[in-house]
């Protein structure tokens, strides 16, 4: 399953704080027409490199799905950033 939500937290020692929840499913929906435009070019690239287009599509889908659960946390003395993909 591809990631559907992303949370982004940021805070600084000056008191600035930002909590952001990004609905990725909306972004995927917005990108869908772009995928339709890119698809013929991807198909040509697959034919040129002699790859099975369905296999390639499956791999890309797997890669997107595997991103779910990624967690990045950075904490410095003056700021902290947390990013999580759900």
């Amino acid at each position: 399953m591809i990631p559907l939500w992303m949370s982004y937290h940021m805070r600084t020692t000056r008191g600035t704080a930002l909590k952001l929840g990004l609905p990725l499913f909306l972004i995927w929906l917005l990108l869908l027409p772009l995928a339709a435009v890119i698809a013929p070019f991807a198909l040509i690239a697959c034919l040129l490199t002699r790859c099975n287009p369905l296999f390639c599509m499956g791999l890309v889908w797997n890669l997107l799905g595997a991103v779910r659960g990624t967690h990045v946390e950075f904490e410095a003395p003056d700021s902290a950033v947390t990013l999580h993909l759900y």
Partner: protein, 147 residues
Amino acid sequence: MNENRMQILEMLAEGKITADEAERLIAALEKTPAEADREAAGGARRADAKYLRVLVEAESETGNEAPTKVNIRVPVKLLRAGVRLAGLIPSEAREHVNRAMHEKGMDFDLSQLKPENLDELIDNLQDLSVDVDQKGGKKATVKVFCE
């Protein structure tokens, strides 16, 4: 000589198994129960490993402030998918990448990057810790492990 060992040697003599197979079977017989348990636990750990975790803790420049911390958790599935995707790289491009890496002093063959090798890496990556000495005597610790 115990019965099992005798049986293996008989099978080897009859040509039912190869010398290599016989050697592996005898080696398996020689393993103590504790070793076998440890191996089984390792296998389970590898199968259970869901995330690759990288923790970095570096002392601050001044030394008085809290240390800088980085905590990254990457799903193992992502690594596997990435390795599989690397298999799609055309051979010409692969050679080009290998050459470029060789020029930078890294003897690495991209064609050797296979999912089986990743399993081996995860299996051995139980708890890796690297201490880094930075400029000014500051220290940083990098921990890499699977969970």
